[in-house]
């Protein structure tokens, strides 16, 4: 009983919590009874071999897919059945493994789109309250430019996003998700396909943003990046949570080594 109460207190304190989350795809159990908490202000890594269920876990947390069973809590609120577009309103932002810029929108439009609760997104407000919409747009543009500056993309602000390189697209996604003022950002492989110098920029930016009090949960295969950035690391294999600890601790864990070498759990 006391264990349950303790667990409930943890869920309340966590920015994001998964509780016994299961997701089946037909006969495949992609995520099998996974529970963990993400604490405010931390950078939590989620690693594991291919097919471990990491991206499925991300999709579950972000609401792109719904769990077969189990619960997800965002700032202590149960959100398991809530659609993806509602979760960002509650402070959960995400980026994608393969970046998804809106190719024919300019960078600044990409970023401005992400602001939450815009009056101008209501059809009639554009005719009934044009001044309010214009004022919000002006403020939004200013903020979007600041965020583009943070990721060193200001010079491309008015170019369509399709001109960006792969790494720049990741940076755009980062600044875009920041526009929504999230409490936590889920990053899906921020280092994948990014050249070494841009990778340093991405690492620095994640640190800067984290210093502003924003929590991160990131999936990453680049162990160097995980070691440098993450306060704590979770390891998944075959849909289950294998272990957790600091990057060094999990790297030495024989179960983790076994999982990566193919003899999972």
């Amino acid at each position: 009983m006391s264990e349950t109460i303790e667990r409930q207190d943890e869920i309340r304190a966590a920015v994001l919590a998964a509780k016994n989350v299961v997701r089946r795809f037909g006969g495949l159990v992609a995520v099998n009874d996974v529970s963990f908490d993400v604490w405010p202000g931390e950078i939590l890594g989620l690693i594991g071999p291919n097919g471990a269920g990491k991206t499925t876990m991300f999709d579950l947390l972000a609401g792109s897919i719904l769990p077969t069973s189990g619960d997800i809590f965002l700032n202590g609120v149960q959100v398991s059945g809530e659609a993806a577009h509602r979760r960002i309103e509650r402070g959960l932002g995400r980026t994608f493994q393969i970046p998804r810029p809106l190719p024919n929108l300019t960078l600044i439009e990409n970023v401005m789109l992400a602001a939450q609760g815009q009056a101008g997104e209501k059809l009639l407000a554009n005719f009934l309250a044009p001044r309010r919409v214009a004022a919000e747009e002006k403020a939004g543009e200013k903020k979007a430019l600041e965020l583009l500056e943070l990721v060193a993309l200001t010079h491309l602000a008015h170019e369509p996003a399709r001109v960006l390189s792969g790494g720049q697209r990741k940076l755009l996604e980062l600044s875009r998700v920041m526009m929504a003022d999230p409490a936590i950002i889920l990053l899906d492989e921020p280092a994948a396909g990014v050249n070494a110098s841009l990778l340093e920029v991405i690492i620095d930016r994640i640190r800067d943003i984290n210093a502003r009090g924003i929590t991160f949960l990131l999936i990453e295969h680049n162990i160097d990046m995980v070691t440098r950035l993450c306060h704590r690391v979770l390891v998944m294999a075959s849909g289950q949570l294998l272990c957790e600890g600091t990057a060094d601790e999990v790297a030495r864990d024989p179960r983790v080594i076994g999982a990566y070498l193919g003899g999972a759990a």
Binding site: L105, E109, I219
Partner: protein, 326 residues
């Protein structure tokens, strides 16, 4: 003088087409909704306004003899609701599946118009639809110019409103859904909500165009709303440039000019007994023009996005999505 009168008549019709094309541009150009049933919404607008404004007719429901403006407003409301319902019914459908379904809606509307005689007058259609300047019909020039003035004003208002919207945060969300629905959802935008809105607003504009047309010709019949109408409007949008409201207007005028021009040409060139067959050349002329435009300017005259790049990106995204994740 006759030429001026004809010019006004021509432009009136072309601008009514522009209005339909503007509605389609909101749905396809901005939001990426593949609506090939637009003739249905035009028909709904025409019949609604006709029913509301014609004098009482014992052979069918109504007419209710209401003022023309009420008829137009009613057309927009009924057309908007019908489009919204279509949008809700097709929420899960994309591209070709959405196209087939909307096409089905238009066919159903047309068949209802043809067979529900008590409501629509069946194959005989509805006549005696009041004209806004009916009293001027004695002087065709004045009549045509007045009509043109009204249609121009309505088209201008719709154009300015749609321009305002396409630059607004609302329009930005629609464009985002067009580009990448999943990304837009991850940024907090409800794809369903905006899709239905785009359907409804576009449908209301199409219905208004149908109503305008009904009141200028004074007579409507189910044959006016065959799939060829949908085809014409799509060509107008593609030629003008998908995504551009200006393109929608210019493309409509241009394509209508070619349609009418090729019609006149065939009637001059071919003997009377060949006329019926020669009429098909109109469709050929439009097809050829479409090919030329697509070869020379793939985005149309005023298009806002490079189609080939867009499709390339989409292909990549789809490929990425289907690759196994971690």
């Amino acid at each position: 003088m006759d030429l001026l009168g004809y010019g006004a008549f021509f432009l009136t019709t072309a601008l009514i087409f522009s209005l339909v094309t503007l509605g389609l541009n909101l749905q396809w150009g901005l939001t990426g909704l593949f609506n090939v049933g637009l003739a249905g919404f035009v028909a709904i607008g025409a019949y609604t306004s006709a029913l509301l404004t014609t004098p009482d007719d014992a052979a069918r429901l109504g007419g209710f003899g209401l003022p023309i403006l009420i008829g137009w407003l009613g057309a927009m409301i009924v057309g908007g609701v019908a489009a919204a319902l279509t949008g809700i019914a097709t929420l899960r459908l994309k591209s070709d599946y959405l196209a087939i379904t909307t096409f089905g809606v238009a066919v159903i509307v047309q068949l209802v118009a043809l067979n529900a005689q008590k409501l629509t007058g069946g194959p005989f259609g509805i006549g005696f639809i009041p004209r806004p300047f009916g009293s001027l019909a004695e002087t065709p020039l004045l009549f045509n110019l007045s009509n043109l003035a009204v249609v121009s004003a309505v088209t201008l208002i719709a154009y300015l409103a749609l321009e305002h919207l396409s630059r607004s945060p609302w329009g930005r969300v629609l464009k985002a859904l067009r580009e990448d629905e999943r990304a837009a959802i991850s940024l907090g935008k409800s794809a369903r909500f905006y899709r239905v809105q785009a359907f409804a607003v576009g449908g209301a504009i199409m219905a208004l165009a149908g109503a305008l047309q009904a009141h200028f010709t004074g007579f409507i019949a189910p044959d006016n709303y065959l799939p060829i109408l949908t085809f014409q409007v799509w060509v107008m949008l593609i030629v003008g440039g998908s995504g551009s409201n200006l393109g929608a207007v210019v493309g409509s005028i241009l394509v209508w000019a070619i349609w009418v021009g090729s019609g006149t040409l065939t009637s001059v060139l071919f003997p009377p007994e060949q006329q019926a067959r020669a009429a098909s050349l109109q469709i050929v002329a439009i097809g050829v023009m479409l090919c030329i435009i697509l070869l020379l300017r793939p985005n149309g005259l005023f298009g806002d996005r490079p189609l080939h790049v867009r499709f390339g990106k989409q292909a990549k995204v789809v490929a990425g999505e289907s690759s196994p994740g971690s």
